[in-house]
Symmetry: D2
Subunit: 153 residues, 4 copies
């Protein structure tokens, strides 16, 4: 998708989702839990683009969500359409940080921002693993930059 939303500039992957009526709770706003589902859908779209789901089948090394965080800026309500931008903001040897931002079409404003830490995990050996080289490379291509190796991820 060609991005035409200035607030999402710099996010190489953007997904579009309808707000569903049933995502609202008794306070008549979209429930906080739904934002983490939106984030997940964007994350999966990104992980597919960098082949990190495939590597799980070929090398046994796949992604694990180690932490997630969201700041709720403005309440969302049905009906609306949201655009979820996602990017990698930081990369270590065995983990990277993904940042996401939710833009509301109805409000024409950022509704939420957050991030998550993805750890590279060897499912066969049941321990952390370095990020596979091809995954690292595809992230750098997608982000249009290189990531200096840091040990903090």
């Amino acid at each position: 998708m060609q991005n035409t939303i200035p607030d999402l500039d710099g996010f190489p992957v953007i997904i579009e989702l309808p707000v569903q009526w049933g995502e609202m709770d008794a306070f008549q706003h979209v429930n906080n839990v739904a934002y983490f589902r939106y984030f997940e859908s964007a994350r999966i779209a990104y992980l597919e683009k960098i082949g990190h789901v495939e590597t799980m089948h070929t090398t046994g090394i796949g992604p694990i969500l180690a932490a997630a965080r969201c700041e709720f800026k403005r309440p969302l309500t049905y009906p609306d359409k949201i655009f979820v931008g996602i990017r990698v903001s930081n990369m270590g040897t065995d983990r990277f940080t993904m940042q996401f931002r939710i833009f509301s079409q109805k409000l024409q404003k950022i509704a939420a921002e957050g991030d998550g830490v993805i750890v590279s995990y060897n499912y066969r050996e049941r321990r952390r693993a370095p990020i596979p080289d091809e995954v690292r490379q595809r992230i750098e291509e997608l982000e249009g930059r290189t990531f200096p190796l840091s040990h903090h991820g």
Copy 2:
């Protein structure tokens, strides 16, 4: 669990669940979708008791939900605790019908009733399969009755 709820007499399996605040929707009642999650949790508890999940690993024959139905009798609200009774009401060669009933502790009344059709499926051969004998037997033990073979399930 020893059943002390007359409305759930005749249900050999009963599970207990807390109503969660976040299950309520903008109408300030528990959303219809949550009832199907309650039903599922009861169904899984029953399927485990009859070993129908194990047979999936040993014989490749497991259960598939082919249909589900719910009648919403009274709205549920947080806080409450519900008791979900479940039983097999009908059994054919390759399918059986499970009936469920949701009882609200707060209302002291039946909140919902419904049923679902479980088809026995051979995941290896990718087609319907007769209900494994041991599953049929355990259902009959649990229900304290025999089921005449019918072709309608």
Copy 3:
């Protein structure tokens, strides 16, 4: 949306939804509960078109879901896009039946079908109410037919 899916001919309202990865369960298919969320989203879209949500504010008479049913025809998996068609198939004095059908873009087949009963309810007087005339009229316009009065809904 102009319908170009023969399987959804005759459904005056069709919504489009992305299948989300997180809607899949441990069997790696979209969980049954998600279908009822899809159905709800289509139902709300229809109810808005016929003004049945507005009448709740102006006259206190709104819709209540009294029953819901779904037949799961083919498993859905991520990624996919679905089209949910919805129509009124039957109308009584205080209730109507909505039929829905889920079409999978990936499978190019019907994935599920079902229906639900909507009861017209006077929230101020806390009892069933006749379907407001303007709602009945808009349903008939949308469906392009009249509904003979029946007492069974």
Copy 4:
């Protein structure tokens, strides 16, 4: 509930929840989104204890979740029972931080930890409001300590 779990010492409110089968995703672990629902259920239990939901009706001042964060320590699977401890760790003039911890009965280990920021909001005047005195007092009673006023919350 009398706490007998050393890992939850110091949490004045603890709720108990069954892990539901349908909360697992295609990776066959409880999906990350479910943890935020668990957190919400604990938060609501705490907010009720301190009367912060009531103040919304009497004074128009109620709680809003401004941010939420979770660290996933160990994967949860069905069947299991979890205990969610929750406490206030920090309090400012118009906001406080709630910390939560999820303990798995099956693993006998901490499965997740996180926190959230609650902002006190005047729904009538549509702006932030100081935490009502009685709410502040009940938090201090519940936590068995006083909170020095900070402007960072």
